[in-house]
């Protein structure tokens, strides 16, 4: 393995605790090492440039069945934006839902090296892994969804945490999944009948359980197992005016629960794309931001982490396992609607959406996403995301960084809104002068997400021993710059190393890398009841046999297995 020395860059790294000082970063055998340990390194001159660890995305929809529905049913999303093949790069298409090839390359161009697929329907796990396999460069894992799963509903109806945990462990292994994802708990099962669960106490039809019981039970099962990541939730009532109370109710379900994990995380609940869950008012007419109420709660409760789901004001494609929400959306915008309900497990929907700066609600949504970040007290617990592609494509992360780092850029955007004054009235952003620095950006995009995922032993920083994922950006924080310079620089890393392999050199992709797929293998005590229930459900209700369900190893050509021992 080659040795590298990245010399004289301005280094921002919360793990080492270095805030833009000039330092050298050494790489040897895929890992960061002390500079004294490299003998004959290739030297990268980073003088005048910014150096950060590889980015970590805790929540994006980048691989699997609904993503591919989004690709295949939107040919117009690829019109005139295709990038031809050249050099090591294969052809790349799609704007809001890029092909797997473009997904890998474009994340790398932004300096990201790890991306988690946020919702994997277990029955479609094989598909998700096929796409992950064909996404170059990135390390990836996928979160199977549990919040509407019949096993979970039946066990938690009777508070059977141990059985739930045993089932979770079995399903993580069967699907090669990474974490416990919950989407609109109970609501998507209700959608099997065209219904929904609109708050945490709305009972799930036929199953005699509430979303609150599901969420609390899955947090407890997650901690019973001590998984690397916490339960990761998209709460009920997404996208509706006045939903912030549901969000706060959901947060409160974590109260009093502490993490029981040896993977270094502090939270027991990660709530995702909180922008979509921070709405006040009771109609689109008096729709307003409740970001302060939401972030106050997060600021004062250290067992919660969130990601933003920031709106980028683009034409995009929404996609979620929240089936009833997508139906609601297509009723609003009358655009094409795809839906897939998945037997015994989950559902999903896909609808194109245009976040127009000329529409008041869209502009308010944009403000809310940024408010959450700017009002956050602990950037180690609030992560940058667009819930790609729901609030906007991930390729806009550098633009969000610009908005977070520059009040001038925010004001330009606010002033261009068609309903500027009404938007200002309904939000708080115009009064916020905070400008994040690159250290805080590194917390929100590197160290924080890595820690929340339980992966701070390999990702998120530049400390010796960590995997050598590092980006060099052509950006000098000590020279004057225009807001757009931030976006330009962070859209195109000058150099990128992924696990010690240089994948970008002089802004050009030079290698397809050495991608890995992460999954969690949790060992539990033998549980004959759960295995009997599994056999029974496959025999009677599934349409595939149990023996054809598990994803076999060859779908993960380069796996990275995290072993968890929950036998007791």
């Amino acid at each position: 393995m080659a040795e590298y020395l990245i010399k004289n860059g301005f280094v921002f790294d919360p793990v080492i605790g270095i805030r833009g000082d000039i330092a050298d970063i050494a790489i040897k055998d895929c890992k960061f090492v002390e500079t004294s340990e490299v003998k004959d390194p290739k030297v990268i001159d980073a003088a005048g440039k910014t150096v950060m660890a590889g980015g970590v995305d805790v929540h994006a929809h980048v691989a699997g069945p609904k993503v591919n529905v989004g690709r295949n049913f939107r040919p117009e999303d690829k019109l005139f934006t295709y990038k031809p093949r050249s050099g090591v790069e294969r052809m790349q298409g799609g704007f809001s839902v890029p092909t797997t090839i473009r997904t890998g390359y474009n994340y790398a161009r932004m300096g990201y090296t790890t991306v988690m697929e946020a919702a994997m329907p277990p029955l479609y796990a094989r598909h998700t892994h096929e796409e992950i396999r064909d996404t170059p460069i990135l390390d990836q894992g996928a979160y199977p969804v549990f919040g509407n799963n019949w096993f979970v509903l039946e066990y938690l109806r009777n508070d059977e945490i141990e059985n739930t945990a045993a089932y979770v462990a079995w399903l993580l292994r069967a699907t090669k999944g990474y974490a416990v994802k919950v989407v609109n708990p109970g609501g998507t099962e209700a959608w099997g009948w065209g219904l929904n669960c609109e708050n945490i106490h709305d009972p799930v039809p036929y199953f005699n359980i509430t979303p609150a019981q599901i969420v609390k039970g899955l947090i407890e099962a997650n901690e019973y197992l001590g998984l690397p990541h916490s339960m990761h939730i998209h709460a009920n009532n997404l996208g509706n005016p006045g939903n912030y109370t549901t969000t706060l109710d959901t947060f409160r379900l974590s109260e009093g629960i502490r993490p029981r994990s040896k993977f270094g995380r502090d939270q027991v609940m990660h709530h995702t794309h909180v922008q979509f869950h921070s709405y006040g008012g009771d109609s689109w007419a008096n729709f307003e931001s409740k970001a302060p109420e939401i972030i106050d709660y997060v600021n004062s409760h250290d067992n919660i982490t969130i990601d933003l789901g920031a709106v980028t004001l683009d034409e995009t494609t929404t996609m979620t396992a929240d089936g009833p929400f997508e139906h609601h959306l297509t009723e609003l915008n009358h655009l094409k609607w795809a839906n897939t309900d998945v037997e015994l497990e989950t559902g999903s929907g896909v609808v194109p959406y245009i976040y127009s700066p000329s529409i008041k609600v869209c502009a308010i949504q944009w403000c809310i996403g940024l408010e959450l970040a700017l009002l956050a007290k602990d950037p180690m617990r609030v992560f940058l995301s667009t819930d790609h592609p729901n609030a906007g494509p991930f390729t806009r992360y550098p633009r969000i960084m610009k908005w977070l780092m520059s009040e001038e850029a925010r004001n330009q955007q606010i002033d261009s809104f068609k309903y500027r004054d009404k938007v200002i009235d309904a939000t708080n952003l115009a009064g916020i002068d905070r400008e994040l620095d690159l250290y805080e950006i590194a917390q929100m995009t590197r160290a924080g997400p890595a820690k929340a995922l339980g992966l701070s032993q390999i990702y998120g920083g530049l400390a010796p021993g960590l995997d050598a994922d590092v980006a060099v950006y052509d950006f000098n924080p000590n020279e004057p710059y225009a807001p757009d310079d931030i976006e330009t620089a962070f859209s195109s890393a000058e150099h990128l190393f992924k696990t010690g392999v240089q994948v970008i050199r002089d802004h050009e992709i030079v290698s397809n890398g050495n991608k890995r797929t992460l999954w969690v293998n949790a060992k539990v005590n033998e549980n004959p009841q759960v295995m009997r229930d599994v056999r029974e459900k496959f025999l009677r209700y599934y349409t595939v046999t149990l023996n054809n369900y598990e994803v076999s190893g060859h779908y993960l050509p380069n796996p990275y297995v995290i072993e968890v021992d929950a036998t007791q």
Binding site: N72, P84, S86, Y124, D341, V342, V350, V351, Y541
Partner: protein
């Protein structure tokens, strides 16, 4: 002695039954018996054992006879016709695994081909409709566990998907459907009283080619608006009755097939069918699903979806991907003389394309990769026999509801035979040699 392999996946139709049992010899070289499969599926497994099977590539000679050639010669020929062409067509892909499809996609990229799959003569028009209006759908287990209203429109599962009705749609007892078929209402729309129509509560014998009008009439009926006395040969009272039967269900599923995708209107018929489904979701829960034909035509659309962003008819000739059925679809390309070489794999356009297109294949440099002897192999210059996917080699396939299932190898192919995947991998290597990269 023999042994039984269970949980075998049937590589015939999009129903992708995965409960087949196959009895093979102890050494795994002979396949003796097949259980649980339908007549067609059983035949597919058994045919792999045919004594007169072609096991080596062959090339057509000037005098019209075949000459056996080596796999190396076949690889070289295939690579050369693709490299020498300005715009080759690589067609088929539906009866092979996703692994082979992925390599084929890369070949297409490298040589600037148009890749198209059998959806082009099957559910391609459904895919166009989905792009125009979307598709509210579900997995087949949702149908089994919830559906109490079943509408088959322009499809005849009794013949084309023989186990569909018993495994998924009309007869099974599921979680919320413990009474099986007795609690389900079945409507069939077809210009013929098919064997499927015989088990229906209502058969609407639509005037052939007037499905679009009848779908529209359903939508008018849902809204309580007035209909003409007859639409598509059906009296309006029957349309109102059928519309009410659908609205009164708790979970409606519409299955549709070639009767609507291939008749006048094509994508519009499906567009209107999906609109009917959307409408029904105002009143109850409804889903719709195409009855996909080849067992892995769906997978081919998925692989190209994630690699290129389009499910079929993908033109890679200019180094990037373009898509427009009517231009980049196999029959239009052949009819219009837009391509100058043809590779056919895992399908039989010779039997299933209009003859005017078949003759174009005959006139071009061409290779057919197929375990069978077919009308396609008859008109191509080179025939490359390969192992049967799902019988002699495993690999991933996607069911009609897009559920991916890994097919199993149950028996050894004849000695020395290549798989699709191996052959294509070697072709790709040879192409890179010829291109000097």
């Amino acid at each position: 002695m023999s042994r039984t392999v269970t949980d075998v996946i049937c590589p015939f139709c999009g129903t992708l039954c995965d409960d087949i049992e196959v009895v093979v010899s102890d050494d795994g070289r002979k396949l003796h018996e097949v259980y649980n499969a339908c007549a067609i599926g059983a035949e597919k497994f058994l045919h792999s054992q045919a004594k007169d099977r072609i096991t080596r590539p062959r090339m057509r000679q000037d005098d019209g006879s075949w000459k056996e050639i080596t796999y190396d010669e076949a690889i070289d020929y295939t690579a050369r016709i693709l490299v020498n062409a300005k715009k080759p067509l690589m067609y088929g892909w539906s009866s092979t695994n996703c692994e082979a499809q992925a390599i084929g996609s890369e070949i297409g990229e490298v040589v600037g081909a148009v890749v198209d799959n059998t959806a082009t003569v099957c559910h391609g028009t459904s895919l166009i409709a989905v792009q125009d209006i979307g598709i509210p759908s579900c997995t087949l287990g949702e149908v089994k566990n919830r559906a109490d209203r079943i509408l088959f429109w322009g499809c005849n599962p009794a013949h084309a998907h023989p186990r569909h009705m018993s495994r998924y749609s009309i007869f099974p007892r599921g979680f919320f459907t413990g009474k099986g078929h007795t609690a389900r209402k079945v409507i069939v729309v077809d210009p013929r009283p098919t064997d499927t129509a015989n088990v229906a509560d209502i058969h609407l014998q639509v005037e052939q080619g007037r499905d679009y009008e009848l779908f529209d009439a359903f939508r008018v009926a849902f809204k309580g608006e007035q209909l003409p006395d007859f639409v598509a040969g059906i009296p309006k009272e029957k349309i109102y009755e059928a519309a009410e039967m659908l609205k009164s269900g708790r979970f409606v599923i519409i299955f549709f097939g070639m009767g609507v995708t291939q008749s006048l209107g094509k994508n519009h018929n499906i567009d209107a069918a999906i609109a009917v489904t959307r409408d029904l979701n105002e009143y109850t829960k409804a889903a719709i699903m195409p009855m996909r034909g080849h067992y892995n035509v769906t997978g081919s659309g998925q692989v190209w979806g994630w690699l290129f962003g389009f499910p079929y008819a993908v033109d890679l000739s200019r180094g990037f991907a373009r898509y427009n059925p009517g231009e980049t679809t196999a029959n239009d390309l052949l009819r219009r003389d837009e391509v100058d070489a043809v590779l056919v794999i895992a399908s039989d356009p010779g039997a299933h394309f209009p003859f005017s297109s078949v003759r174009k294949i005959y006139e071009l440099p061409s290779v057919a990769i197929d375990p069978h002897e077919t009308p396609t192999t008859e008109v191509c210059k080179v025939h490359v026999p390969v192992a049967f996917v799902g019988v002699e080699v495993g690999g991933c396939a996607y069911r009609m509801d897009n559920v991916p299932i890994e097919t199993r190898k149950v028996v050894e192919p004849p000695d020395g035979m290549m798989t699709d995947e191996e052959f294509l991998r070697r072709v790709l290597e040879r192409i890179k040699e010829l291109q000097g990269v």
